[in-house]
Subunit: 342 residues, 2 copies
């Protein structure tokens, strides 16, 4: 794994990713085509297919990693990738739904180098577009209860994780009510991991794999999600906004309980105590934000975050190797998931 | 039917309604109990169980007509009401989800004599609570593909109808781009009817009824929904805010294409032409709102709306009598649905 060099290279499993993307796109376009014309236009923007005026857009419409995991999981149990297309479409739609709603909730104005959906169309229309994407996702798997079980569990966990993340913002950095790393991990497994778990497990289910393999892949996905969320936290502090497409340091400004900061504070070193004081005073101006980021690194928060992400990826890949030993493409995509720059 | 006297009496099938409510509440509370504590508190407010501070609230938490339809539909095909509980819980949760999101979209500040959820807790938290309610709804039926087929179709139609309703607001009252009564009907069948249809059809499916009966009950629900939406439109113009719990005339102020107004304009009478002029000038002050409401009635919009609602209820009841001739309780609830004051 190349996670210590986040600028190191493209997502793992490049050929397989491309193959999955080609299978996904027509199915995804067909799913969205039933929407109200007005909703379809906003959905096309949300999915990166068009700009805010409806003109074709050649941008970064997302990497399609969740659908790839669904399809490659089906292949890994001996089925054709196509058999998992309903799950692939569903998880990509849920992902787009969650981004549309999260940007409203977090007041994030930028997404993938463009305006967020709500900035482009307004809160009400963006909210409704998210609902539409979710409704279509559910419809994809309505007739496949084994796969639906995982999708619906992921939806419940996703919202639970997002609620926990929001509730964390109002909790203090230090003291009896501080957010623990255990609580963070549970939040990340829900908010970020559950949909990866649903992708893998629903792919296995649609590919005819056993319920035992599906359940284990659910856990693999959740562990990957924890690593992915930590990597995202790190990009939020040390990432290049020109690459990530999002402003840097937003998380620090709004008291988000990200892993690098929690890990830094947990060291209780002099830098950690200084960090605690800076954070408690409220990080608002550019100078205090930079100072906080520097102290997180000095206190060892960056190293600890990276080590924890590495541990979760290793655990996920070990479990994957045990339950699906010949899943080369799937393994490459999972291993590459956290080795990302944006 | 007593629709011409909207203050005439309680919802039909009172005893059956009460019986269904007693079955529903523990199941609904259990479903919501898995939410994040913070989300559970907002959900309890949304469902009318507590006030904004979390204290028990003895108010109008909704009439529970959708869950009653689900359970009585199961009884009508010879099953116990309990067999349809997952559908009953699911449709009540979807209903609460749609109210939470609709109030954000429509900037409605009041709901059931209280603040709307977003006014009490903020847009982001209310949005997320809606998502949580929807996720729980989907989970209820994840293992029941026959019922899930109807729930997911209803979700897609509900969002489609809501999109159409929003898009209508930006269309002119008269001219080649005016909203037709056909378009209105399709919107209402989706926005309001689909969830009633899903309640009935999923109840039939969980009760072991045939797919043919389920499909026909889906149509019955959609027709009832058109009538219900028209009745709601009428309450929005001539209802008593002290009874409905919502301000009157909001629809007129925001150019909502409601049936009484569309029907009034379609008469092309002198009153209709005057109404058209008033609406085109923009209805903002209290005087022009009252004038518009008066002209709708003068042009025959109130009578026409009532006649159309009556027709849709009659068609629904006829279809119900044909396919489930002995469903006394279900029939009473369906017949009483449009005979409402709030």
């Amino acid at each position: 794994m190349n996670f210590s060099h986040p600028a190191g290279g493209p997502l793992g499993g490049g050929g397989a990713m491309e193959r999955c993307r080609r299978l996904l796109e027509p199915a995804l376009r067909e799913a969205v085509s039933v929407l109200h014309p007005w909703g379809a236009r906003m959905a096309a923007f949300a999915l990166g297919w068009s700009d805010a005026d409806g003109r074709p857009y050649q941008g970064d419409g997302g990497k399609g990693v969740r659908p790839a995991i669904a399809m490659l999981s089906a292949e890994a149990v001996g089925a054709r990738a196509e058999s998992a297309l309903p799950a692939a479409v569903a998880v990509e739609l849920v992902h787009a739904f969650s981004l549309a709603h999260d940007d409203i909730i977090d007041h994030d104005e930028r997404r993938r180098h463009r305006e967020a959906l709500w900035k482009a169309y307004g809160v009400g229309p963006a909210l409704l577009t998210g609902d539409a994407l979710l409704a279509l996702a559910v419809q994809q798997l309505a007739g496949a209860p084994e796969a639906m079980k995982f999708l619906s569990a992921a939806l419940v966990e996703l919202v639970h994780g997002q609620s926990a993340d929001m509730a964390f913002e109002n909790r203090p950095w230090r003291g009896p009510k501080e957010v623990t790393i255990g609580e963070y991990t549970e939040m990340a497994a829900g908010k970020t991991g559950s949909l990866l778990g649903a992708a893998a497990a629903a792919g296995v289910a649609l590919g005819g794999g056993t319920p035992e393999i599906a359940d284990r892949m659910w856990t693999v996905g959740r562990d990957l999600g924890v690593a992915f969320q930590i990597a995202d936290d790190m990009l939020g502090i040390w990432g290049d906004p020109g690459v990530t497409g999002k402003p840097v340091h937003n998380d620090l400004r709004r008291d988000k309980k990200t892993l690098p900061v929690l890990a830094a504070l947990a060291t209780d070193s002099p830098a950690a105590r200084e960090l605690s004081a800076v954070l408690s005073a409220g990080v608002t101006d550019e100078e205090s934000v930079r100072q906080a980021a520097r102290l997180v690194e000095q206190a060892g928060g960056r190293t600890a975050a990276q080590a924890m992400a590495d541990r979760y990826v290793s655990a996920a890949l070990e479990a994957l190797d045990e339950c699906l030993p010949n899943a080369t493409d799937l393994r490459a995509v999972c291993a590459g998931l956290v080795n990302r720059t944006h």
